[in-house]
C-alpha cells in the first residue's frame, strides 16, 4: 500500500498542503495514542511492583521494573499458566486444521464440481452464515453430553472438521472463483480425478486464502471464551481465556498486576500473528468484509 499517495484524490488540492497534512497527522497520532494507551498501560502495570499499580499511576513508564507479577501470575492458580498455554495451543491448532480442511473441501465442491442440488446446498450454506450460534447451542450441548464429550476438548475441536463455521467456506468460495477455470478444466480433460485437481491445483494456488482462513481461525479459537466456559470444568483442561477468568475470581482485587501480567501473555500470540501476517488479515477483511 505504498502507493497511497498516488491514490490521493485529485481535485482536492488544499490551499496549504503542508499545514493540512500536519493537522491530519496530529489528529491521527492523537487518536492512535488514545487507542494504544490502555494496552500500554496494562503492559506497564504488569511490570510494576505490586504496591505501585494504582492510585495516581497514569504514566506508562514504571518507576521500577520487575517481573515479580509474571512469577506471581504464572503460578497464581493451582496449575501453572504454562499448562493453559499448551492447552490453548493444542485446541487452536487442531481447530484451525479442521476449519481449513473442511471448508476448502466444501468450497471446492461448490465452485468446481457439478452435482444435483448444488444451488440449494449453497443457498443453505449462505443461510447459516448469519444464524446466531445460540440457536444450536443447547441441543449441541445435549448431544455432546450424551456422547460423554462434556468436560473434554472434543466439542471445541470436532465441529470444525465438519465446516460448521460457514464464514470460512464463504471466504474460500470467493477466492476459488477467481482462479481461472481453464486450469482445472484442462486437467480434467487429461483425466485428472477431482481429488488430484483439489490437491495438486486448487490448494497450491490458494495458499493466500488458506493462510488467511488459518490465521482467523487460530485467533478466534484462541480468544474463544464461551465454548470453553460451557464445556470445560476441569482446571487441568482450561484454556488461557478460562484460566484468566478464574484468576479474576481467585485473586479478587488484590493481585491486579499479576492478572495484568497473564493478560499480557495471553495477547502475545495474537500480537505476533498480527505483526507477521497483518497484510493477510487486512486483505481478508477488506475482500470479504465479514466479521471482526
Amino acid at each position: 500500500m505504498t502507493d497511497a499517495a498516488a491514490q490521493a484524490l485529485p481535485g482536492q488540492q488544499p490551499a496549504y498542503p503542508a499545514l493540512r497534512s500536519a493537522i491530519s497527522h496530529s489528529v491521527l497520532m492523537a487518536v492512535s495514542f488514545v487507542m494504544l494507551y490502555p494496552i500500554l498501560w496494562m503492559l506497564a502495570g504488569s511490570l510494576r511492583p505490586a504496591d505501585d499499580l494504582f492510585g495516581g499511576n497514569t504514566s506508562l513508564i514504571p518507576s521500577q521494573v520487575t517481573i515479580e507479577a509474571y512469577k506471581d501470575g504464572w503460578f497464581g492458580l493451582q496449575i501453572s499458566f504454562g499448562k493453559f498455554f499448551v492447552n490453548s495451543l493444542i485446541i487452536a491448532t487442531l481447530a484451525t486444521i479442521g476449519n481449513v480442511l473442511a471448508a476448502s473441501l466444501a468450497a471446492f465442491a461448490f465452485t468446481r464440481l457439478k452435482f444435483r442440488g448444488r444451488a440449494i446446498w449453497f443457498a443453505l450454506m449462505l443461510g447459516t452464515l448469519m444464524l446466531p450460534y445460540h440457536v444450536t447451542l443447547i441441543p449441541q450441548y445435549v448431544l455432546f453430553l450424551k456422547l460423554g464429550w462434556v468436560n473434554t476438548w472434543l466439542p471445541l475441536i470436532v465441529p470444525k472438521y465438519f465446516a460448521v463455521d460457514a464464514f470460512f467456506i464463504f471466504l474460500m468460495v470467493q477466492f476459488f472463483r477467481g482462479i481461472p477455470r481453464e486450469l482445472d478444466e484442462a486437467a480434467m480433460m487429461d483425466g485428472c480425478s477431482p481429488w488430484r485437481i483439489y490437491t495438486r491445483i486448487m490448494l497450491p494456488l490458494s495458499l493466500p486464502v488458506l493462510a488467511t482462513a488459518a490465521i482467523f481461525s487460530f485467533i478466534w479459537t484462541w480468544e474463544d471464551f464461551f465454548g470453553p466456559l460451557i464445556y470445560i470444568s476441569d482446571t487441568g483442561l482450561y484454556t488461557v481465556q478460562l484460566a484468566l477468568r478464574s484468576f479474576i475470581d481467585s485473586s479478587g482485587s488484590t493481585n491486579w498486576n499479576a492478572l495484568f501480567a497473564m493478560s499480557v501473555l495471553s495477547l502475545i500470540p495474537i500480537f505476533l500473528i498480527f505483526l507477521f501476517f497483518q497484510r493477510l488479515l487486512i486483505e481478508g477483511i477488506a475482500t470479504t468484509g465479514m466479521k471482526r
Binding site: 487507542m35 496494562m42 465442491a109 449441541q140 448431544l143 480433460m189 471482526r292
Partner: protein
C-alpha cells in the same frame, strides 16, 4: 462448464451405464467433497436448530425428559419475566449506541486516511489492532480496571481535579463503558470503508471540483451515495455482532450482568438461564427470540435498501 459429462473427469464407462450408475457417476464426487459439511449441516446445525425450536415449547432441565409446555415459555417471557425486559432494554440500548458511534468513527478515520496520508499502513495497523484483541478476556479484564474506582480513567480525571465514580459498579454508567469498548474496536469496519473509498473513481471528484462543488457538497453528493452499499454491509454485520456480544459483559460484571442488571446482555441472560439454572426449554425460547430479532432486523435493513442504498447498475 457446459459439457458436463465430458468434463467431470470420471473415466468413460466401457458399457452404457444404467441411469442410476450414470447419476452416481455424475454426482458422487460433488457429494463426497461436500460430505463433511453436509454431516455438520444436518447433525450440528439444522438438527440442533430444529431441536431447540422443539425444546422452546417444553420444560427441560437436562435430568428428566423434556415436558411439553405449549407456548408457556414465550408467554412467561412476554408477561412475567422482569429480567427478560431488562436484558432486551440493555441489549437494544447497547446496539443503538455502539453501532452508529462505531461506524461514524470508522468512516471519519477512513476518510482521513484515504486522503493519501503518508504512513497509512502504520495508522491502519494501529487502528486495527484493538479489533483483533478486543474479543479476548484480557481486554475485558483491562476494561474492568480502566473504569474501576481507582482505575486509569479516574486517575486521569483526578489530574483535572474531577473525582470520578466507579464506572463499572455504577448502574448508571456501566453499560457505557462497554459501549466505549465496542467503539474502541472500530478498526475492522474502518478497513472495509477504506476498501470502499478506494473504489470511488477519482474523476468524479475532479469533475465536481471543476464545476465548483465544495468539499462538503462532494462528500454529500459523491462519497456518501457511492459508499452506501459498504455502509449497509457494515451496519448489518456490526448490528448482528452487537446483538451477540457476550464476553465483555460477562467479565466486567463477573457473570452477573450487574450491577442491577445494567450489563445484562441478552446472550448473558441466555447463558444464565441455560447453564446457571438449567432451564433449557426457556433458554431455547430465548435463543429463538434472538433469531427472530436478528432476522427481523436483517429483513428490515434489506427492505430499506431501496430507499437509501445506491447500487451502480
Amino acid at each position: 462448464m457446459t459439457m458436463e459429462t465430458a468434463t467431470n473427469g470420471w473415466e468413460e464407462g466401457r458399457r452404457p451405464p444404467s441411469r442410476f450408475a450414470e447419476g452416481l457417476r455424475r454426482n458422487l464426487p460433488g457429494y463426497l467433497f461436500l460430505s463433511p459439511w453436509l454431516i455438520g449441516f444436518f447433525c450440528l446445525t439444522l438438527g440442533p436448530a430444529l431441536g431447540s425450536l422443539y425444546l422452546s415449547f417444553t420444560d427441560y432441565d437436562l435430568l428428566s425428559a423434556p415436558r411439553f409446555a405449549g407456548v408457556s415459555n414465550y408467554v412467561h417471557m412476554a408477561t412475567a419475566d422482569p429480567n427478560f425486559g431488562a436484558a432486551m432494554k440493555v441489549t437494544f440500548l447497547y446496539v443503538a449506541l455502539s453501532v452508529p458511534l462505531k461506524l461514524a468513527f470508522a468512516l471519519a478515520v477512513a476518510m482521513m486516511l484515504n486522503r493519501g496520508m503518508r504512513g497509512l499502513p502504520v495508522y491502519r495497523a494501529i487502528f486495527y489492532l484493538p479489533s483483533l484483541l478486543g474479543a479476548s478476556v484480557a481486554i475485558a479484564v483491562l476494561w474492568r480496571q480502566l473504569f474501576a474506582a481507582d482505575g486509569l480513567v479516574n486517575d486521569l480525571l483526578w489530574v483535572f481535579g474531577i473525582e470520578g465514580p466507579s464506572w463499572i459498579s455504577n448502574p448508571n454508567y456501566s453499560l457505557y463503558t462497554l459501549v466505549i469498548l465496542s467503539v474502541w474496536q472500530f478498526g475492522s469496519p474502518m478497513i472495509i470503508f477504506l476498501a470502499g473509498l478506494r473504489q470511488i473513481p477519482a474523476d468524479m471528484y475532479e469533475a465536481a471540483s471543476i464545476d465548483g462543488a465544495s468539499k462538503r457538497r462532494q462528500f454529500v453528493k459523491i462519497t456518501l451515495p457511492l459508499l452506501t452499499p459498504v455502509i449497509f454491509f457494515n451496519l448489518v454485520i456490526q448490528t448482528i455482532d452487537a446483538f451477540k456480544a457476550f464476553t465483555p459483559a460477562f467479565i466486567v460484571s463477573g457473570g452477573s450482568g450487574g450491577p442491577i442488571n445494567s450489563t445484562l446482555f441478552y446472550t448473558l441472560y441466555l447463558y444464565q438461564e441455560a447453564f446457571g439454572y438449567f432451564r433449557m426449554g426457556y433458554a431455547s425460547a430465548l435463543a429463538w427470540v434472538l433469531v427472530a430479532i436478528i432476522a427481523g432486523f436483517t429483513a428490515l435493513s434489506f427492505l430499506s435498501t431501496k430507499y437509501w442504498v445506491h447500487y451502480d447498475d
